[in-house]
């Protein structure tokens, strides 16, 4: 418990950011028409691919002889990129259709 309080104290900025970001997320999404729910979900899904940044950091920090860490990091990058590229591309494809008959 003491550790937790210490952690919060040392990372007060992060705690603030988390709380504010939660509210931004809620406000941004509120009152979105049902028409756009599917593209929105797939767009948000692409955004969660931001873990790719962490996967790249893992690889940058790993020792070239540490095959296990490197292999896991490599897989993490592939999966993360898949999530990002596939997610944005398919969202774009869907929204393209909406645009056509405007």
């Amino acid at each position: 418990m003491k550790e937790l309080i210490e952690f919060i104290n040392n990372n007060l900025q992060i705690v603030y950011i988390i709380i504010l970001a939660i509210f931004v997320g809620i406000e941004v999404i509120k009152s979105i028409p049902a028409v756009l729910h599917t593209p929105l979900m797939s767009g948000a899904n692409a955004l969660s691919g931001v873990v790719i940044v962490g996967a790249i950091l893992v690889m940058l920090h790993s020792n070239p002889t540490d095959y296990l860490a490197l292999g896991l990091g490599f897989t993490a990058v592939v999966l993360g990129v898949l999530n990002v590229v596939g997610g944005f591309a398919v969202t774009n494809r869907m929204l393209e259709m909406f645009k056509k008959k405007k």
């Binding site: 970001a21 929105l40 948000a44 990129v81 999530n83 997610g87 008959k101």
Partner: protein, 462 residues
């Protein structure tokens, strides 16, 4: 961390917020998506090149290869996938994101000296692994259930108790590991396995109709996993990006639950029970009347107002193009045609809009549930194509029905109802629909594409 990288992350974070905001309006959605994608690209490139680490070339090569492989596969899937498969795709991609987070956690666990690392950091690593694992296996099960390779509802006796035991075991093992600074990898793999197991057990018993809610929830969880890894690295773009997806996902999940009049709690803990009544009970509902395409064509040709209710069956039969042809033909004959779109028509919210947009249906003809429901009174003919649960009157008048209370399209108020279905098989929720036994209802049995093509041909000849 260099100032330039910090600024890049800051820009990326802003693009995420602006992008999400713009995704919420039909006119700006496309640019919103591109803005967020650009920000993501910046963050990725910045992370790779801006740092003061001594990184051997081979690592750069490996990162490059990984990115190329992931991009090509992701791109190919995205341009090849059929729009009907959208929900499967979202859950599949989502699972990849979760797996990525779990893998990062595993590597970081191996890299840190557990004995000296702060307990909070170890707890953070473990939660990234657990949440990542849950979203990974859960999303794969959701994907399998949606594409039919995992057969519908698997009933595990007392699954609630088993589920809770698994989650308690995960928490207990994690606490033990954190508190005792245990660096035995066996514990880590046990926790990882339990996380994967929980994902499977959690999604497996959830009924078909609740699947969109589950996908949205898992989506939100991936965001949270990303945010946790962000805390681990003190990385703002991951932190804010993850939290945004997490909180937006929860809001979307709750909105969907509302559309189906279910609480999140009942989706997760009370699985949909399909009524497995004996054959005989069906007869009590009355008799069904089947019709032919020429009779249905005459009815529609001489109608003033026709409302089309498209469901997932329409998409499965790839009939979204012929239905547009039918609608154009009727309009050219002076009939008022509208589409009534239930918020959860298809397999995820807004899915039907995407499908109809794909076949160029005019946006103005798509009416949302609240707007169209009062108009069913004036409708001469309602054509229900491959929809079932969203037009089931049991939601209004049968308190024992699992879908009781779900807002539905009030098609039974129309003068005539034509229902196109392949057979009398129950809908995705697995429950009987008394609408089919209504005196005003005629059933047009057959494949949606074939039957609607016939309707078009008949009407053309009139």
């Amino acid at each position: 961390m260099s100032v330039i990288l910090s600024i890049i992350y800051l820009i990326a974070t802003v693009t995420f917020i602006v992008g999400l905001k713009k995704l919420g309006h039909p006119d700006t959605a496309k640019s919103g998506n591109l803005i967020a994608a650009t920000g993501m690209g910046l963050a990725i490139i910045g992370t790779i090149f801006i740092h003061d680490l001594q990184v051997p070339t081979i690592i750069y090569v490996l990162i490059g290869i990984a990115i190329v492989i992931g991009s090509i596969i992701g791109w190919l899937i995205a341009i090849k996938v059929e729009m009907t498969k959208m929900p499967e795709l979202v859950s599949l991609f989502n699972g990849f994101g979760g797996a990525s987070a779990a893998l990062i956690g595993i590597v970081e666990f191996g890299n840190s000296d557990i004995k000296t690392t702060s307990a909070t950091i170890v707890a953070t690593i473990l939660s990234a692994i657990v949440i990542g694992a849950i979203t990974f296996s859960g999303s794969l099960i959701a994907w399998g259930k949606l594409n039919g390779s995992v057969k519908s509802v698997v009933k595990i006796p007392q699954y609630n108790i088993i589920n809770n035991l698994v989650i308690i075991a995960i928490i207990a093992a994690s606490t033990y590991l954190v508190a005792g600074s245990i660096d035995n990898p066996i514990f880590l793999y046990a926790i990882l396995t339990a996380g994967l197991l929980y994902g499977i057990l959690f999604v497996l018993p959830i009924g078909g109709a609740d699947m969109p809610v589950v996908i949205s929830l898992l989506n939100s969880l991936t965001g949270i996993a990303a945010a946790i890894t962000g805390v681990l690295y003190g990385n703002m773009v991951m932190l804010v990006g993850g939290i945004l997806v997490g909180s937006a996902g929860i809001i979307l999940t709750v909105a969907m639950c509302k559309a189906m009049n279910r609480t999140l709690f009942s989706v997760i803990f009370g699985s949909f029970t399909a009524s497995e009544g004996p054959e005989g009970t069906n007869k009590a509902l009355g008799s069904i009347k089947s019709t032919t395409s020429s009779d249905a064509a005459i009815m529609m040709n001489y109608a003033t107002n026709v409302i089309i209710v498209p469901g997932y069956g329409l998409a499965v039969a790839q009939a979204q193009h012929v239905i547009h042809e039918l609608e154009e033909l009727l309009v050219s004959k002076g009939v008022n045609v509208k589409y009534a779109i239930h918020p959860v028509a298809g397999r995820m919210p807004g899915h039907m809009n995407v499908l109809l947009a794909e076949s160029n249906v005019d946006y103005d003809l798509l009416a949302e549930m609240e707007d169209i429901n009062p108009q069913f009174n004036n409708a001469d003919v309602v054509l229900v194509v491959g929809a079932n649960d969203v037009v089931n009157p049991a939601a209004h008048n049968d308190p024992s029905s699992p879908i009781y209370g779900m807002p539905i399209l009030d098609v039974e108020n129309a003068k005539h109802i034509v229902v196109n279905k392949r057979s009398m098989k129950a809908g995705y929720a697995g429950i009987e629909n008394e609408l089919f036994y209504n005196d005003k209802t005629s059933m047009l049995f057959g494949d949606a594409k074939k039957m609607i093509t016939e309707l078009v041909a008949e009407i053309k000849n009139m």
